[in-house]
């Protein structure tokens, strides 16, 4: 029975912190963004009021956006390390097998397939959510840039791109928030409370259920092969300078995102008018 109590580390602390940062910034973006999309609804008005008004709300939204962009930069660096230095399997890449797994899962659910698909480190559900998040981030960052820097943007693009960016940003936001509420909530909280992002662990049962192929790899000792010390050192010596350059470039990008332009004057030029009070008859 001691096999059942065996646990496996699914997400080390760094990855969990990363997840929590993304989760908190995403939630903040949603809470401060959705009321902007539906600004005339009573609920939005209350939220905006509670948070100190529309300008404060926008500032919070911008700060959360910066945090999420920093999180994205960090994620890319970590991924780069894993792929280049550790030569990890790119287990999150989508494949034809995922489509087959998805179809099989659906068929199994409705009774047309005998077994549920056997999946590896990331199930088709997880990959779908991850890549949806990547796609969403790309859309949000690009459209967000257009709205944050409309003067710079319209030097190169037609003016209509700005309201179009606003429309896409709002539409994508509704999709993202609802997708998280529906897909993510069901998949990792309702179907079964998955504690991998809390304590990092999965037990034998859970692994067997959701990631049987990964479990098999772990047991076969082929899941987590690390390069030997010399190779590791050599690759690190190559990766670190490249990563440093990339980091500087990406941070400069974020800095530019924030500081490209002063969009509007802080105060509207006052209306001046003359009164000739001596004209009173």
């Amino acid at each position: 029975m001691n096999k059942v109590n065996q646990t496996y580390l699914r997400f080390p602390l760094a990855r969990r912190i990363e997840h929590w940062i993304m989760m908190l910034s995403f939630t903040t973006l949603g809470l401060t963004g959705i009321p902007q999309k539906f600004a005339t609804s009573a609920i939005s008005i209350s939220v905006i009021q509670v948070l100190g008004g529309i300008e404060v709300l926008r500032t919070i939204h911008h700060i959360a956006a910066i945090i999420m962009m920093l999180g994205t930069v960090w994620h890319m660096l970590v991924m780069g390390y894993g792929v280049f230095v550790n030569r990890d399997q790119m287990s999150m890449l989508p494949s034809l097998q995922d489509a087959k797994d998805g179809i099989q899962a659906l068929l199994y659910n409705v009774g047309f397939a005998k077994t549920y698909p056997q999946m590896g480190r990331y199930t088709f559900e997880e990959k779908m959510e991850y890549w949806a998040f990547v796609w969403g981030s790309v859309v949000m960052i690009l459209t967000g840039f257009l709205m944050w820097n409309p003067i710079t943007a319209t030097k190169f693009l037609p003016g209509e791109f700005i309201p179009a960016a606003k429309a896409a940003h709002g539409g994508e936001a509704v999709l993202a928030v609802l997708a998280i509420i529906i897909w993510h909530m069901y998949g990792v909280h309702i179907k079964r409370l998955n504690k991998a992002m809390f304590n990092g662990m999965q037990n034998e049962q859970e692994m067997l259920h959701e990631h049987p192929l990964e479990l098999a790899d772990i047991k076969a000792g082929i899941s987590d092969r690390r390069p030997d010390a010399a190779t590791l050192r050599k690759r690190q010596m190559i990766y670190y300078p490249i990563a440093a350059v990339l980091t500087v470039a990406m941070l400069a990008g974020i800095y530019g995102f924030i500081n490209t332009e002063e969009t509007a004057l802080k105060t509207v030029p006052p209306i001046s008018e003359s009164v000739d009070a001596t004209a009173v008859p």
Partner: protein, 388 residues
């Protein structure tokens, strides 16, 4: 998870209170209706008061003056002009206002200037026009007067009591067209530059042509309780002010003007911000544009006016640059010109919206369907005692 909202039947005292409140509001509305220019109660009648003929016997003589300090005040009254005034028509006697005079010789006048003499008479208007008098107390003019600017207008500066024509149509209960022009001309006495701008604006020109749909000064600024138009709250209220007429299809349809202007403004970044400020912090300034920032204040032109009309992108860009100094040619197209996106106007925005209109339900619908099959399978498996 579900919160149940209980609706209790309203109690009888609540109903009575509401009814009473309703009646009170109704009574106030009737009482405060603008058609009612003067108080219905007549001024105190003096049995032995002299008639107007008695006064005019002397005062119709031209060139009569009264010396006040170093100034000479004309005290001649033209009987024809006075006869055409609303006060004459209503049978108001000279002594109803000049209450200190009942006979000749008149009591000595203490005031040492014409202005001081006029100011001393303000309260006599209150006898019949208490509503208007009260409203003036909150006005920007009264504030100026209280601050020691003695040339700030008082009742008689705008309404010469001896010649004041009737302003409100007796049948319509509304300002007559001549009254609407008279209002603008009256304000022009001190606000000459502003009047010049207004006169040539789309509103002012139409007023001159006898159009009663366009606003005269008082429609936007109020009549007696004229507020300070340079405050943040006045500015934040601008969209609502313009919407009063511009959302009204009855007026706008005649001229083929869109009534979607407010809705499209509020849907935009500027309008959303200003609307929220207006609701939550009406007194706080915002740098987001209101109607007048693009369309002008008193010099509002038709949008297709080749010189200043904001339907022309180069004209609009000049307006944009007031707040966005670095804006270049394409920038003004970021504003959708009060159009609801359609395949003709702002097609890109229209198609983005259309895409999400189908994409969102398609993606979420797919997710929900999959989840439902998953739940179904779990229930079936549990009933069969099979592990998922």
């Amino acid at each position: 998870m579900h919160q149940r909202i209980q609706i209790r039947p309203p109690r009888i005292w609540t109903l009575s209170l509401l009814l009473g409140l309703g009646l009170l509001i109704f009574a106030l509305a009737v009482f405060a209706s603008p058609a009612q220019a003067a108080h219905t109660t007549t001024p105190p009648q003096q049995t032995d008061k002299p008639g107007n003929d008695f006064c005019l016997a002397c005062h119709q003589e031209e060139g009569k003056t009264l010396t006040l300090g170093s100034e000479e005040l004309s005290v001649s009254i033209n009987p024809t002009q006075f006869g055409e005034s609303v006060h004459s028509a209503e049978g108001i006697a000279c002594v109803d206002c000049h209450t200190d005079i009942s006979d000749y010789p008149h009591p000595t006048v203490k005031e040492k200037s014409i202005r001081a003499f006029s100011l001393a008479y303000v309260d006599s208007c209150k006898q019949c026009h208490e509503d208007q008098y009260t409203k003036v107390q909150d006005s920007v003019h009264q504030v100026a007067l209280d601050a020691g600017k003695e040339n700030a207008p008082i009742c008689s500066d705008c309404h010469n009591p001896h010649t004041q024509p009737r302003l409100i149509g007796q049948e319509s209960g509304l300002l007559t067209i001549s009254a609407r022009r008279h209002v603008a001309a009256t304000c022009a006495t001190c606000h000459a530059d502003t009047y010049e701008q207004y006169k040539n604006s789309v509103h002012g020109a139409a007023l001159a042509d006898g159009n009663t749909d366009v606003p005269t000064c008082t429609d936007c600024h109020g009549v007696h309780n004229i507020s300070d138009p340079t405050t943040a709250s006045f500015r934040n209220n601008t969209p609502a002010l313009c919407a009063d007429c511009h959302d009204n299809a009855e007026i706008m349809d005649k001229y083929g003007i869109s009534t979607e202007v407010t809705e499209t403004y509020v849907a935009d970044f500027h309008g959303t911000t200003v609307t929220l400020f207006e609701q939550q912090f009406p007194g706080q300034e915002t740098n987001k544009a209101v109607c007048s920032d693009c369309h002008g204040v008193h010099d509002i032109a038709k949008v297709d006016n080749p010189e200043t009309g904001v339907a022309l992108r180069e004209n609009l860009l000049i307006k944009c640059q007031r707040c966005h100094p670095d804006a270049t040619a394409n920038f003004s197209d970021a504003w959708m010109s009060h159009y609801v996106p359609s395949p003709q106007h702002n097609p890109l925005v229209y198609y983005v919206n259309l895409f999400y209109k189908f994409f969102i339900p398609a993606v979420l619908g797919g997710m929900v369907l999959f989840i439902l099959t998953d739940i179904y399978r779990r229930i079936v498996n549990r009933m069969k005692g099979v592990k998922h």
